[in-house]
C-alpha cells in the first residue's frame, strides 16, 4: 500500500482502489454470485401445483356462491312482500360467506407467484441428463477449440510477418487493413458472411467456377458457416497478442539461430514460438472465450439445425423464462472457460503475470 502511496499520491491511490473495488464488487463479483445462487435453486413446483389446485377449488366455490346470489336477486324482484326479508337475509349470508373466502386466496396467490425455493443440483443435473443440450455443450466446446486452433494457425504467420519481416510503413498498412473491418459492427460483419456463404453467394460461385463442386455447398445450415464466420470475426483477438510479444523478440536472436544453421521450422519451434508463448496463450484464451460465448455469429450464420450453447442459455432466460436453469447453463460455460484458461496456463507454462503483461 505504501508503495502505491509513494507512486501515485494519496488521492490518486484512494481513487484507484475505490473504483477498482467498486468495479470488482458491483460489476463482477455481485452479479456473478447472484447468478451462481440462481443456478443452485429452483421453484418448488409441487407446492405451486397444490396451491393452484386449491385456488381453483376455492374459485369454483366462489363461482357457486356468486351464481346463488344472482339467482336469489332475480327471485327478489318477483317475490311477495313478506318473503323479501327472508331472501335479503339469504343474500347477505351468501355475500358474507364470499367475503370470508377472500383472504384464503392471498397465501395461495403468493405460493403460485413465488413458490418456495429448493436448493440443489437439479438445474445442473438437467444439463447433464438432457442429451441434446449436453451434446450441444460438447459441440460448442469442440468447435470453439477448432476455431481457436485455426485462428492460431492463420495468425501466427501474420503476426510473425508483421513483427519481423514487414518493414516500416508496410506494417502500418497491414495493421490498418486488419483493423478497419473491425470498425464495422460485428452483426454487419457477420451478415457480410451470410451473403458470401449463402447458396448463390460468392463462395459457391467461386467453387463452382473452379469446378470444385457441382452442387452449391450449404454452408449456412452446417457448422462450417459458423466456424468460418467466427474465425473471421475473432482473428484479431489472436493476431495482436502474438504480434505484441513477437515484436519484442530481438531480431538478432532469429538471425543468430539462422547463422548457426537452423532451418526456419527449427527457428520457429525453438526460438520464436517459445518466446511468443504468453502471447499465444492470451490469444488462444481470448479467442476461445469469445467463440464459446458468441451469440450473434451462430444465430446469423447457423441455420435451424446448428444450435450454439449460448443460444440455449438465451432461450432459457428469454423464451423459457427459467432464469435458474439459464444461470446453471451460463455457470457451466463459465467453468468451462476457467478450466480452459488454467489448462492453457499449465500447457504454455505461463503465469498470470505473463498473461497480464
Amino acid at each position: 500500500m505504501n508503495r502505491y502511496f509513494q507512486r501515485y499520491g494519496k488521492a490518486m491511490t484512494a481513487y484507484i482502489f475505490l473504483t477498482t473495488s467498486l468495479w470488482l464488487l458491483g460489476m463482477v463479483l455481485m452479479p456473478q454470485l447472484l447468478m451462481v445462487d440462481y443456478s443452485f435453486w429452483y421453484h418448488d413446483e409441487g407446492v405451486q401445483a397444490i396451491a393452484m389446485k386449491e385456488a381453483d377449488r376455492l374459485e369454483a366455490q366462489l363461482d357457486d356462491i356468486d351464481a346463488a346470489i344472482t339467482v336469489a336477486e332475480s327471485k327478489l324482484d318477483s317475490a311477495v312482500e313478506n318473503a323479501r326479508p327472508v331472501i335479503e337475509t339469504h343474500i347477505a349470508e351468501l355475500e358474507a360467506k364470499a367475503g370470508a373466502m377472500e383472504p384464503l386466496f392471498e397465501p395461495l396467490d403468493e405460493a403460485i407467484r413465488n413458490p418456495p425455493r429448493i436448493y440443489g443440483f437439479k438445474n445442473y443435473i438437467y444439463l447433464l441428463t438432457n442429451t441434446l443440450h449436453r451434446s450441444i455443450f460438447v459441440k460448442t466446446m469442440l468447435f470453439s477449440l477448432l476455431v481457436t486452433f485455426i485462428a492460431f494457425a492463420l495468425c501466427y504467420p501474420v503476426a510473425y510477418y508483421l513483427s519481423h519481416v514487414a518493414k516500416g510503413h508496410r506494417t502500418g498498412i497491414i495493421i490498418m487493413g486488419l483493423m478497419v473491418p473491425y470498425w464495422v459492427n460485428e452483426i454487419l460483419r457477420t451478415f457480410a458472411w451470410l451473403m458470401i456463404l449463402s447458396r448463390n453467394g460468392l463462395a459457391n460461385s467461386i467453387l463452382s467456377f473452379l469446378g470444385l463442386t457441382d452442387q452449391p455447398v450449404d454452408f449456412l445450415n452446417s457448422d462450417s458457416g459458423v466456424v468460418i464466420g467466427m474465425i473471421y470475426c475473432y482473428v484479431l483477438f489472436m493476431v495482436f497478442p502474438i504480434y505484441n510479444t513477437l515484436e519484442t523478440l530481438d531480431h538478432n536472436q532469429i538471425e543468430a539461430a539462422r547463422d548457426l544453421g537452423a532451418s526456419w521450422i527449427k527457428i520457429h519451434r525453438t526460438i520464436a514460438i517459445p518466446y511468443a508463448k504468453p502471447g499465444i496463450a492470451v490469444g488462444c484464451i481470448m479467442t476461445f472465450m469469445v467463440a464459446v460465448g458468441t451469440y450473434a455469429v451462430p444465430s446469423i450464420l447457423g441455420g435451424t439445425s446448428t444450435l450454439w450453447f449460448t443460444q440455449i442459455i438465451y432461450s432459457w432466460f428469454f423464451d423459457g423464462g427459467n432464469w435458474n436453469q439459464g444461470a446453471a447453463y451460463a455457470f457451466a460455460l463459465l467453468v468451462l472457460c476457467v478450466t480452459f484458461v488454467m489448462f492453457m496456463m499449465r500447457f504454455f507454462k505461463v503465469s498470470l503475470e505473463d498473461i497480464a503483461r
Binding site: 530481438d250 538478432n252 536472436q253 538471425e255 543468430a256 539461430a257 539462422r258 547463422d259 548457426l260 544453421g261 537452423a262 532451418s263 527449427k266 525453438t270 526460438i271 517459445p274 518466446y275
Partner: protein, 364 residues
C-alpha cells in the same frame, strides 16, 4: 576448403544509399582481421555480406575460393557474434552452446562432449546448466563465443561484441579473444570503432571511411605509415599542418606551414608546389635544443598545459580551433614543466613526420 575471405568489387546499395562502395579485400586464412571505422561507415554491412544476411548488389564474396552468392547464412561456414550477443534467454548455457550442434543432428553424447570442451575453452566449466540471464557480462560474452565456435566455423565474425563491457573487462576479453583465436586457428573478422581494440588484437587492420576501405595493413603500418590523410588523422592522435611543398630532397619534403618551413618524410604522390599536409604525432615531439635545425622545430605559445603523470600534454595556440595541436612530452621527473602562456621550441625528427598529398581528414 580454405577459410580465406575475398571480396571482389563488392558494392552494397540500399535504394539510393550506397553503404559499401566497390570494396576489394582479402582476409587471409587464420588471421585476426579487424575492420576499424566510425559508426555508419559500412563495416557492419560488410560483415553481414560475409555472413550471408545481405547479398551484395554488385561484386562477389568468396569464402575459401567459393562464390557465396545464393548461399544463406545457415549454409555458410561462418558464425556471427552479435553486438548484443543475442543469446537465447529461454535456454541454459549448455543449450545455447549446443544449439548449432543440435541443428547438425549430432548425437546427444557428442553434443555434450563438445559443449564440455567449449566450456573448458572459455573457462566456464560446470556452468552449463545455468540460465543465460544469471551470467555476468563477461560470462555471457564467452558463452556467445562458445556458441559460435561450436559449429566449427571457418570464419568467425564479431560485431563489436565487447562494446557493452566495462573498460577493465574489455581489456581482459581482448587478450582472451586473441588467445582463443590462436588456439583454434579460426579466421576472425572483428568489427570495431575502438582503435585500441583493433591495434591490440589484430594481425591486420582495415581502416574504413564512408563506404570504402582506406587502408589495410598491420597495426604498425596503419599507425606509422598511414596511406592517406584520412587514416593519418583517424588512427591515433595526429597533428596536421597544411602547406605547400617547397622542395623534395632525398625523400623528404619541405613544406611551408604557418610555423615556417618544416620537413617530413614524403609519401608517394607528393609533388613540388602542390598543397600538402604534414602530420606529426604528439608523442614525437621533444623540447628542442639550441642547435636543432629550424626545419624540424616549431616555436609557439602554450595555450594549455596538462599534467598527466607519465606525460605532459601541451596544447599550442592554434588558429584552427576545431582541431587541436597537441604535444605529448614524456615526464622524466627532472625537467621543468612548461606552463600555460609560456613560449616553447619543440623539435621532432623529420623521419617521424609525414607529408601526404592534400585529402579528406577524419572528423575529430
Amino acid at each position: 576448403m580454405g577459410s580465406d575471405v575475398l571480396m571482389q568489387n563488392t558494392t552494397m546499395r540500399f535504394d539510393d544509399y550506397v553503404a559499401v562502395d566497390n570494396v576489394n579485400l582479402h582476409i587471409r586464412e587464420g588471421e585476426f582481421f579487424s575492420l576499424l571505422g566510425s559508426s555508419g561507415c559500412g563495416k557492419t554491412t560488410i560483415l553481414r555480406m560475409i555472413s550471408g544476411f545481405l547479398e551484395p548488389s554488385e561484386g562477389k564474396v568468396l569464402i575459401g575460393g567459393k562464390d557465396m552468392r545464393g548461399i544463406g547464412p545457415n549454409k555458410r561456414p561462418t558464425a556471427l557474434i552479435f553486438q548484443n550477443l543475442a543469446l537465447f534467454p529461454l535456454m541454459s548455457v549448455e543449450d545455447n552452446i549446443a544449439f548449432g550442434l543440435e541443428v547438425r543432428s549430432l548425437s546427444r553424447k557428442e553434443r555434450m562432449r563438445r559443449v564440455h570442451g567449449l566450456l573448458e575453452l572459455i573457462a566456464l566449466p560446470g556452468m552449463g546448466s545455468k540460465k543465460v540471464n544469471d551470467l555476468s557480462g563477461g560470462q555471457k560474452q564467452r558463452v556467445a563465443i562458445a556458441r559460435a565456435l561450436a559449429v566449427e566455423p571457418k570464419v568467425l565474425l564479431l560485431d563489436e561484441p565487447l562494446s557493452a563491457l566495462d573498460l577493465k573487462l574489455r581489456q581482459r576479453m581482448r587478450q582472451e579473444l586473441r588467445a582463443i583465436q590462436q588456439k583454434t586457428g579460426v579466421t576472425f573478422i572483428y568489427i570495431t570503432h575502438d582503435q585500441g581494440e583493433a591495434m591490440a588484437m589484430s594481425d591486420r587492420v582495415g581502416v574504413m571511411s564512408q563506404a570504402s576501405i582506406e587502408q589495410v595493413g598491420t597495426p604498425k603500418d596503419i599507425y606509422n605509415s598511414p596511406a592517406n590523410p584520412f587514416v593519418a588523422s583517424f588512427v591515433g592522435t595526429n597533428n596536421v599542418l597544411a602547406g605547400r611543398v617547397d622542395r623534395i630532397i632525398d625523400g623528404f619534403a619541405v613544406v611551408r606551414t604557418r610555423f615556417g618551413e618544416l620537413m617530413g618524410r614524403s609519401k608517394a604522390g607528393v609533388q613540388e608546389g602542390d598543397r600538402s599536409l604534414l602530420f606529426i604525432r604528439p608523442e614525437n615531439f621533444f623540447l628542442a635544443k639550441e642547435y636543432d635545425r629550424d626545419k624540424s622545430v616549431i616555436s609557439s605559445t602554450i595555450y594549455r598545459s596538462q599534467f598527466e603523470g607519465a606525460f605532459i600534454n601541451l596544447f599550442l595556440n592554434n588558429t584552427n580551433r576545431s582541431r587541436e595541436f597537441m604535444v605529448q612530452l614524456a615526464n622524466d621527473g627532472l625537467g621543468e614543466i612548461p606552463s600555460s602562456g609560456s613560449e616553447v621550441r619543440l623539435g621532432f625528427r623529420p623521419e617521424l613526420a609525414l607529408v601526404l598529398p592534400e585529402g579528406e581528414l577524419a572528423n575529430e
